[in-house]
Symmetry: D5
Subunit: 96 residues, 10 copies
């Protein structure tokens, strides 16, 4: 089941540089693990911003919550979610 | 070059049913032609709405405008566009 | 899988009274059928408005779209959807 | 009398971890006590967020204020309230 | 139990003058009846607008819905509702 | 002359508890003094929030500014003001 | 007593040209009469729009409502009002 | 050339009192100097707020920027600007 | 003197095709005349929309109003204006 | 390929003056280098603000992201991006 997830990162300006670096390193590793597992199907940067557009492929709403709330950057992001499903005009087999 | 495009359809309630049916048929044919050409890379329905989330793959901004403004439903949609690019944490080769 | 769905009804003021009455009658029958099936788990009126707050219980996003887009009032409503899941502090067994 | 209450948690990033842990523990205990009393009828997590959708069952507006303003997380939440009542199409006896 | 209700009137510009006049006359009669009954405790015009600020005194949410949805202008108004209760600093006995 | 005033309190989370307590005590004393003088005609809590809805009765705009800007919580509140006047359908003698 | 009033004109596109012309002629005459009386102290066009910024000088809120609601274009304008008073740094004697 | 300028002051709550006092004193002196020069034509307080509505009279956009960006409170204000010009219905000679 | 002007076109769906064609033809001729005169310095389409971003070069606010309000599409556009001036970091001689 | 980019600067009020001065100096040098290269085609100040309107000329979305995310002020700005293309009514050869 697919969800569009948009994440906008807002790191507090007074957070120490090494703390930020650690969070970002863990975020990257975690994001790549979820991509490897097929849970994080697409991940794009929005040009001109510190934000991304993502497509998640999860079993249900609960798994979506588990994956997103475990993001190391979760406390520092504005996140919006839209449930997706197959469009009657789509010809792409995997646009479910 | 990829763009996220979101389209929300607002058909005037007093438009004749056959006119609507004709526009929708042409919209579907056109959407499927663009998908076949690889220009309209993904097309999802947003669950619970008359709206879609799409990923377009175009040569440049001008082609994006040409493709979108030719949509039969173009005059009846609220459309928002976000330019995408590769995310440094993506491992998907084609998330460009 | 649960979703909160909020619907605000906006019937065009120049729609004939009998057309409105027919749509409302079909809406009510359909809403009650979905409730009987257990798909539409809760349905409340928001006091002071022509709007409702609902909880849907569906198999997946696709079923949510099928059920909502088939509402007779669908073309005349502003609808917003939020995916729900179990809250770690809930003690209600069925707040999934 | 039922109210839909939505709560979005915004914990200041510079609050000490033990203070946060204490507040959260008290919040959970309080939330479960209100659920046991039947005052907090439903409590769902909104998937992909640090937010909940709740249904409160209270005697009147004053009790709603008493219960919500006593939440340990009250100073750190954006809260919105909508008064609910029976929907004429509901068939659920307790959707009052 | 008190509620603040704000109503903004938007009469369609193509509605016949006699229909408008009839609706307004019935609205006025109904508003005055509710005031006489003590249900509509205050009714003020917002200066420079076709809008009002009102205080309703009702038994519960359901009665609020019954009274407001029966307003002859109900289909032509944007309405917002806020539940009120006693403020700990109020000295007015009837600011409940 | 009446004004509806809405105040939403946002106390900075890092303000010392004794400073907050002092401000709140002065706010309460001042609010009660203005009520005693008849300047602050109504004061209600909005249920489920740290906010109030108030009706002020002042000689003119300048007095409204003097009274509100002297509130001890003034620097920590979002405040909105709407000028009121008699509604042609009001039957309450003092809804001026 | 001064108020800033902003008016944005939205004339329905299907209103007959002679009806519009008549409304505009009456609007202009009325606006000039109020200016002559000193009630409408300033009237500026906002460059690039069909909107104005105005300063009204009235006895009280009720007079503001009387003057504005009598504007021939009143049903076709979005209007916002802000009560003004003397600024402690003003040196202009009549900026009351 | 006239501009409407609206300024809303947001002084950080943790700024030392003497720093604030100094900024405000310089702001007042500067505002009065610009008024004496005829550049700051009107300055009103918005009743119930820490905000003002102003009319500037400048040679061009560049001068507007020079004057506003030199305000001692400039870093602590939300500022909005609207270019003004003569309204065809104005009878005030200096409403240019 | 430069202004950024953004225009979003909203043509009513029930306007006859020949009326629209006539308005658009006159709009194009007028836009090109203003460009030839150097008043309309830049005109770009926003990709994926029926909207433009423009730079106007005018003597003052009044000329901006004259030029924009004479656009044949003026009654059917949402228009926003921002006054521009030289940026201290610009090296382009004509970015005034 | 052209993009309109709008940047609004929000420097935290508690950042040391020398840190700010250093960031601004690097920002200016970088902005001028990109202008020299022809990547930053136009740069205007929005009068009355600490904001700019810019036109970027880049190879693709990825280059836009590279250039903008490298701005020394990037963490302290609200940035919005709109993809541009040739307008059918433009007569300026380089309004691509």
């Amino acid at each position: 089941m697919l969800f569009k997830v948009e994440m906008k990162v807002n790191i507090p300006h007074d957070m120490p540089a090494d703390v930020i670096a650690d969070i970002k390193a863990r975020e990257k590793a975690y994001a790549q693990e979820l991509q490897t597992q097929g849970k994080w199907r697409h991940l794009w940067r929005v040009a001109g911003s510190y934000a991304n557009v993502s497509i998640f492929d999860v079993a249900d709403n609960a798994e979506l919550q588990d994956l997103i709330s475990a993001l190391p950057l979760f406390p520092y992001m504005d996140i919006s979610v839209a449930p997706l499903c197959r469009h009657p005009s789509s010809i792409h087999l995997d646009d479910r």
